[in-house]
């Protein structure tokens, strides 16, 4: 009996002990487990941040979209419902079969999205028949919307998360929102994390089978951050129009603060197509197009800079005291060096010319001689100083660095010694040189602003502060007779000069003026006569294929060879000549020559840029700061 009682006591203690351990010691653990059982959370995407242009126009906005969801549980007969919807929305049998498969996989109370982007007429048709469509729910939601395609490359597009995104983008790991779209390219990609905002959630109670019992809490989350860019949507449109029908890019930059006013690549694509999943045919059309519409040529297209580099070749030679600008050289159409013949683009030759005329008429022979004396290493130092061979934008993943070759680079990358012949080719921007349109735009801007370093930017920063260069400029305007030398000003305003002697910069600028505005200049035919729009520019063409001796003899024209073998056409310029404010670079793939293909496009864009200068500057700092 005693044994039995003690046995009972032990069991009793055991049960009490277990109860205490479960309900007192580990209670909080089990409480959270019970809540985990009980609650399900569905994260909901907050409205994505908006991307505006400099004037507050929305480039990437959020628009209402109309969706149709169905919940099989509410419907009497899902297949009948699908059949009805098939007729109303003209869905294909394939799509219906796909939906049936999706529905079969889910629980009957889970909703399935029939269509995530109905047109208004489809949506109203569904609403009209709604009384006989039990189980169907029309839903109004919001999604990314791009008003036009002109900024498709600069802004980029959003699309659904891919497995690769989840692997590479850390911030997506905790996000886990069904149906959220994330930025894939352009600013949409680089600003993605901030534009996503913080997700909200719907918390609801579920039973053991996962059926929703009731909604417990909602949190709408925090709207993503809105960004104001330096782009001007009007100019984006003009640039796009100017590039109509050709493959190429246009970049426009404020030469003092580095604002990128326009960045356009052609042909473009419709970014809206990607928001709800691009269809196969459209994707094939885009990916098989030889003009590569998906490529942002302004930052990822790599092309030899061609004759546009002559500005830097000349500057480098002058800065290094290798050449006197007045030195005359005779161009016979070619020169021979160590038994190799180097041709000028002009078969007959330019005759005797000075450096200014060599830039104006873009003589190759003159710059062969300059380059030969200068050497590749000194040229590469100048080119790098002006922004070539490196990424110049912050956090723009498509951007490519390009190449500025020198002896060391060749030894490291190719494993061979540098030949003097390569120096000659490099001096006229052929050979190993590779650059992007945005780099050449920056180069031109930094020449145009008097040789000062600027940092290109696509976003208006929150304080919209003016930089030292602008301060110096304002000071100069107010005190035109200040006796301080430029060297003194550099110290006063802590400027970052890219020159040793500013005279050399001015010489190059003047030569560019001549190239555009004096008879015989390479871009003379595209000039503006109105002083307000007058620009100074340099043409260029990057060679795709060297002509054979026979072709050269026969003077084969670019328009006579196959499209893909034609030279790329370049034009870089700054305007207005009197008081430079903007720099532009234009690239036309396989355009033939810069003067005929690229300069006319620049002419159109420059006019619009200058016309809008007033509007842009009247947008005061205060307004922008308040708007943001």
């Amino acid at each position: 009996m005693f044994l039995l009682t003690s046995f009972k006591a032990i069991v009793l203690v055991g049960i009490f002990g277990r109860l205490a351990s479960l309900q007192i010691n580990e209670s909080s653990k089990y409480k959270s487990l019970a809540d985990k059982n009980r609650f399900r959370e569905r994260k909901i995407a907050p409205p994505r941040g908006i991307i505006e242009d400099y004037f507050g126009n929305e480039i990437a906005s959020n628009a209402k979209i109309y969706q149709l969801h169905i919940t099989p549980e509410i419907s009497n007969d899902v297949n009948a419902l699908l059949f009805r919807l098939k007729n109303i929305l003209n869905l294909s049998s394939k799509k219906i079969a796909l939906l049936q498969k999706q529905i079969a996989k889910k629980k009957s109370w889970d909703t399935t999205i029939i269509s995530d982007n109905l047109t208004w007429s489809e949506f109203s048709r569904v609403n009209l028949f709604l009384h006989e469509l039990q189980g169907a729910q029309p839903v109004v939601s919001i999604a990314r919307f791009y008003k036009d395609n002109s900024s498709a490359h600069a802004i980029g597009y959003v699309s659904e998360i891919s497995p690769n995104d989840l692997r590479t983008k850390k911030y997506l790991k905790d996000l886990n929102i069904e149906g959220v779209e994330i930025g894939k390219t352009g600013l949409e990609s680089s600003l993605d994390e901030q534009m996503l905002g913080s997700p909200g959630y719907l918390r609801y109670e579920v039973n053991a089978y996962g059926k929703k019992i009731k909604q417990v809490a909602t949190n709408t989350g925090l709207k993503g951050k809105t960004f104001r860019t330096t782009l001007d949507q009007n100019i984006q449109k003009i640039s796009t129009e100017a590039l109509e029908g050709v493959s190429g890019a246009v970049c426009v930059m404020d030469i003092y603060n580095g604002d990128i006013i326009s960045m356009v690549s052609s042909p473009n694509f419709n970014p809206n197509s990607f928001v709800h999943g691009v269809n196969k045919d459209e994707w094939r059309g885009l990916s098989e197009n030889i003009d590569k519409p998906m490529l942002n040529k302004a930052v990822s297209g790599l092309y030899p800079p061609g004759s546009t580099i002559k500005t830097l070749t000349a500057l480098s030679a002058l800065e290094n005291d290798i050449f006197n600008p007045n030195q005359l050289i005779q161009c016979k159409g070619y020169i021979d060096l160590h038994g190799e013949r180097f041709h000028c683009w002009k078969k007959k030759g330019h005759g005797i010319l000075s450096m200014r005329n060599a830039i104006k008429r873009s003589c190759d022979v003159y710059f062969y001689e300059v380059a030969r004396k200068l050497g590749i290493d000194r040229l590469s130092v100048t080119a790098e100083k002006f922004g070539l061979g490196r990424k110049i934008l912050t956090n723009f993943k498509e951007e490519k660095a390009g190449t500025v070759p020198n002896t060391k680079w060749k030894l490291n990358q190719i494993g061979k010694n540098w030949y003097i012949g390569e120096t000659l080719h490099s001096g006229i921007g052929q050979g190993y040189f590779l650059s992007t349109p945005i780099q050449l735009c920056l180069m031109t801007a930094q020449l145009a602003n008097g040789g000062f370093k600027i940092k290109p930017r696509m976003l208006v920063n929150e304080n919209n502060e003016i930089n030292n260069l602008q301060k110096y400029l304002n000071y100069k305007k107010e005190n035109p007779n200040d006796p301080d030398t430029i060297d003194q000003q550099i110290v006063n305003f802590s400027l970052e000069p890219l020159f040793r002697n500013q005279e050399n910069i001015n010489f190059v600028k003047e030569a560019m003026f001549a190239a555009s505005n004096e008879a015989g200049g390479t871009s003379y035919r595209s000039r503006h006569n109105d002083k307000k729009f007058m620009f100074a520019g340099k043409t260029g063409s990057s060679q795709i294929r060297r002509f054979t001796a026979e072709e050269r003899e026969a003077e084969v024209k670019q328009t006579e060879i196959t499209y893909l073998e034609r030279d790329h056409a370049w034009f870089v310029a700054f305007a207005p000549v009197q008081d430079p404010k903007y720099a532009i670079s234009v690239l036309v793939e396989h355009g033939g020559s810069g003067s005929s293909a690229a300069a006319p496009i620049a002419k159109k864009v420059i006019k619009k840029v200058i016309e809008r200068h007033e509007t842009r500057t009247s947008q005061t700092k205060q307004q922008i700061v308040e708007d943001i």
């Binding site: 277990r18 479960l22 209670s27 019970a34």
Partner: protein, 375 residues
């Protein structure tokens, strides 16, 4: 053999006998009955119509049955215990061949009004029979082989019948009830040790006869997290429910685990989990106390009743009752494998309720007729 008419039927005698009832036991049973109705009400998600209603009706009906049994002389129960036992064996045989099958086991007889589960009644029947058996033989004969043989057979027949239904839980409980009585009557430890040894030797053979679901239950008990959505699900969810109840519980009708159906079998085997989730540690301790009080009172009655039959029956039933409670609670608290053992009075189920009330009724009869000797 004869009923004592005087003590049973005269109104005067009944009034006398009413005061001989053990009121502590009576009130404890009533209290448990009331709690059980609330628990069943909660198990149906706050509806009376579903489980709570029939449970309440059963409790009331069987409570009167309990009172009726209490007022029948203890001699009657002694005299008829063999008959009752044989009747129950016959019922088990009937179940074996004509029973109602449900979820893979054959446990019930369809009586049209309700399905009777004879194995539940056998839990009391075996105690009744063995008490009677050891009452009859002299205490010096208890350890003789001949007198060991009968109880062993009497125990193994219902055990095997129930095991083959299959119903491992009830079979074990019947076995335990029988063993307890045998031991209380003075059978030596040694004999139990030999038999246990034999069982251990035969265990691997027995295990090969277990149904797959029974094997998996034992395996999951050893490691419930190995298969959280399969067999371990019940244990895990039960522990979550109890643990999340905390010190004071979530409140009546607020048990999320039960209400949202995470808890399996919440109206039968896991009714204590539901109660514990809603009333917390304090409520659970109170309930354990209540059960312990009942066991204690039964033992007390065993102490005061004069007949060997009564004493053996009370001690045996007290221990068996305690074991039922302990097995059920240990099971839902994850201390024992899930074997399917209802919690007396609280669990939904007519046969279990009938058996318990019948068993308690005989205990009460032992108290009412404590001074009667049994031939």
């Amino acid at each position: 053999m004869m009923l004592n008419r005087n003590s049973l039927h005269t109104p005067f005698a009944i009034r006398d006998k009413v005061f001989d009832l053990d009121f502590t036991l009576l009130i404890s049973i009533l209290l448990l009955g009331v709690i059980s109705m609330f628990a069943q009400y909660s198990s149906s998600g706050g509806q009376f119509d579903y489980h709570a209603k029939s449970h309440a009706i059963r409790f009331v009906v069987f409570f009167f049955f309990f009172l009726a049994v209490s007022f029948i002389n203890i001699r009657f129960w002694n005299d008829y215990s063999l008959l009752i036992f044989i009747l129950l064996i016959l019922l088990l045989v009937v179940v074996k061949f004509f029973g109602v099958q449900s979820q893979g086991s054959r446990r019930w007889i369809n009586l049209f009004v309700f399905n009777l589960q004879p194995s539940e009644l056998m839990k009391v029947g075996i105690i009744l029979f063995l008490s009677n058996y050891y009452h009859k033989i002299s205490s010096s004969d208890v350890n003789k082989f001949k007198y060991l043989f009968y109880p062993l057979i009497a125990l193994l027949i219902p055990f095997m019948l129930v095991l083959s239904q299959p119903d491992l839980g009830t079979a074990i409980l019947i076995l335990i009830s029988g063993v307890v009585i045998t031991w209380l009557s003075g059978v030596k430890w040694k004999i139990f040790a030999y038999l246990s040894g034999l069982v251990i030797v035969l265990a691997p053979v027995a295990i090969s006869f277990l149904k797959p679901y029974q094997k998996s239950r034992i395996l999951t008990f050893l490691n419930p997290d190995s298969d959280p959505l399969g067999a371990g699900y019940q244990i895990i969810q039960s522990k979550i429910a109890v643990g999340s109840g905390g010190l004071f519980g979530k409140g009546f009708l607020n048990g999320s685990q039960a209400y949202l159906n995470f808890l399996p079998e919440k109206h039968t085997d896991f009714i204590f989990t539901l109660y514990s989730e809603e009333f917390g540690f304090l409520g659970s301790v109170f309930m354990v106390f209540l059960y312990f009080l009942i066991t204690f009172r039964i033992t007390q009655i065993g102490n005061v009743t004069r007949s060997i039959f009564g004493k053996l029956y009370c001690y045996g039933f007290a221990t068996a009752f305690f074991v039922y409670v302990a097995v059920n609670m240990s099971m839902v608290l994850g201390l024992l494998p899930i074997v399917g053992a209802p919690l007396p009075i609280l669990s939904y189920g007519g046969s279990s309720m009938l058996a318990m009330m019948f068993g308690l009724g005989i205990v009460m009869s032992c108290n009412v007729y404590k001074n009667n000797t049994v031939s």
